[in-house]
């Protein structure tokens, strides 16, 4: 399940009114989430949750569900 906090952070960064996410949603399915804005989304998520990702952890991710799991693991 994708938390409202993560959803809001991504939507704000991409300046989207609304977009329905589920665990299997991938970045290329989200309007505006391209290779250049990817960096800003990651920085916004790090800032919002006050965490730091390793590049290897991020490059392994297949979808937003895995990003949520990674955030949850970091916050434990």
């Amino acid at each position: 399940m994708i938390s409202d906090r993560l959803k809001k952070t991504i939507l704000n960064e991409l300046k989207l009114e609304n977009f329905e996410f589920d665990e299997n949603t991938t970045a290329d399915q989200v309007p505006g989430w391209d290779s250049l804005s990817h960096l800003n989304v990651i920085l916004a998520v790090e800032k919002e949750f006050n965490i730091r990702f390793k590049p290897y952890e991020l490059l392994k991710l297949k979808n937003i569900g895995e990003l949520q799991n990674l955030i949850d693991d970091k916050l434990k």
């Binding site: 290779s35 250049l36 960096l39 290897y56 991020l58 490059l59 392994k60 297949k62």
Partner: protein, 474 residues
């Protein structure tokens, strides 16, 4: 053997017949043998290099996937990438770097002889090494969830439809298809055949016929007027697109007939409304390779430097993009120029260009953006096409003379005709939402067109010299 040769068609028919007349569990063996026959046709010694390098890469990829510690995975990845890049460096770049270094040293008054080796570059080396590297990366990033035996990997890394000039497939996409059974399917044969016909049309009837007209203009530009040189540059953009998109369609078609889905490599690139958009549509298998395995890791590494980090990642990625195409400074500059184009929206903020602020009508804005993008790409193609700096200087000198000559009307007709046909094909691809447009026509029409195109292509192949695929030399 080249795709646009008789020997390939005979080879391919024999492969298809033997492939589908053998039990499905032996098809990978037939395919692997076919791959090596195809590749050895150029030079059997290159096959030894391909086999040795990919065997080492297979085992290193397995070590990566079977180790649970991050540090060990990383060590095996670095070893694998190092070995592959070292081999690529020796065969493709050693002479270039050695001569460039010596020229630099000689500038400071020293005298050195460059260390060079006398060898021909193994065909498709940049393509098959980049394809094999995805096995290492995909294992490292845990994108491969099954075990694969060495036969499956060697079949993947030498896959004959793509080994010479791509599309560069990913291990996590193509290896599962190699593992699965592939039964004879009439629809696959039909779809593949139509893609091959379509690719041959683009390559032989558009790309090659343009090549015959413009090659001598680029060879001796001093004998041509400004208008003729401009015409050659404009036609080159259509030639390189149709040559490479044609090749990719033939590769996808041949793979489809064998039961494989190879990724789309072109998506109407000259309809792009920004250079960023162009790279989403041009040589997609390579641009996404660079994005996933080079740009993203660099971008994440430099992320705390803000937009300058993004900029550095873009420039480094596009320098690599340029030099991947050839060991020559013109390709480095071509890559750098595209890197600069892509850096501008990052520096200025996207959507804030002069055109965007002045034009409100979205259709007009899109058309102007497409023209602007095309001009930028066209300027970069000049760097891509030149063979040496003196040619570039002559081209520029001739262009600024603003001379027109007596063939203006004829060249305008030629340019308009080729642009019309190339853009019509792109329009039909958009309309039918596929690059296999023959498949969308009624069977009788599609068969009729295929027959006519095949006869014309065959007569061209009989009566004229076969032009090699431009990208096959990379």
């Amino acid at each position: 053997m080249q795709f646009n040769s008789f020997i390939f068609f005979i080879f391919f028919i024999i492969v298809l017949v033997s492939y589908y007349n053998i039990s499905s569990n032996k098809r990978n063996i037939v395919l692997l043998i076919s791959n090596y026959i195809f590749y050895s046709y150029f030079d059997y010694r290159f096959s030894i290099l391909l086999l040795s390098l990919t065997t080492i890469t297979y085992f290193l990829g397995n070590f990566i996937s079977k180790n649970n510690t991050y540090e060990l995975k990383r060590k095996f990845l670095i070893t694998g990438v190092f070995i592959n890049i070292l081999i690529l460096g020796i065969f493709k770049y050693l002479n270039f770097f050695s001569e460039s270094f010596v020229s630099l040293v000689n500038l400071f008054g020293f005298y050195l002889d460059p260390v060079t080796i006398s060898t021909i570059q193994p065909l498709g080396i940049s393509f098959y090494i980049f394809q094999s590297l995805t096995w290492l990366f995909d294992n490292y990033y845990e994108k491969i969830d099954k075990e694969y035996n060495i036969i499956e990997f060697l079949t993947f890394s030498s896959f004959f439809p793509t080994v010479i000039a791509g599309p560069i497939e990913r291990a996590h996409r193509l290896m599962p298809q190699i593992k699965n059974d592939r039964d004879f399917n009439k629809e696959n044969i039909k779809a593949g055949f139509y893609l091959i016909v379509y690719g041959l049309f683009r390559k032989v009837l558009i790309g090659d016929t343009i090549g015959r007209m413009i090659n001598h203009i680029f060879a001796e530009p001093e004998y041509f007027t400004s208008f003729e040189i401009l015409a050659a540059i404009l036609l080159y953009a259509i030639q390189i697109y149709n040559d490479f998109a044609g090749y990719s369609s033939i590769a996808r078609g041949a793979a489809k007939m064998l039961g494989f889905d190879i990724m789309l490599n072109f998506k109407q690139p000259y309809f792009a409304d920004s250079v960023t958009d162009f790279w989403r549509r041009w040589h997609i298998s390579f641009s996404t390779w660079l994005r996933d395995y080079i740009f993203y890791p660099l971008q994440l590494k430099f992320r705390y430097y803000g937009r300058w980090g993004n900029l550095l990642a873009i420039i480094l990625t596009f320098l690599l993009c340029g030099i991947w195409h050839g060991a020559s400074w013109n390709f480095v500059l071509w890559g750098l120029l595209h890197g600069i184009y892509l850096s501008i929206p990052v520096l200025t903020g996207q959507g804030s260009s002069f055109i965007n602020n002045k034009i409100n009508n979205s259709s007009t804005l899109r058309i102007l953006s497409i023209i602007k993008t095309f001009i930028l790409v066209l300027i970069a193609w000049i760097l891509f096409r030149i063979e040496n700096w003196s040619t570039l200087m002559t081209l520029v000198n001739q262009l600024v003379l603003f001379s027109s000559g007596e063939f203006v009307a004829r060249f305008i007709k030629i340019i308009l005709s080729y642009y019309f046909v190339s853009f019509l094909l792109d329009y039909l691809e958009i309309k039918f939402q596929t690059d296999n447009i023959l498949l969308k026509l009624t069977p009788a029409v599609a068969f009729g067109i295929s027959l006519i195109v095949s006869i014309i292509v065959l007569s061209y192949l009989i009566t004229s010299d076969k032009a090699p695929f431009i990208y096959a030399r990379f």
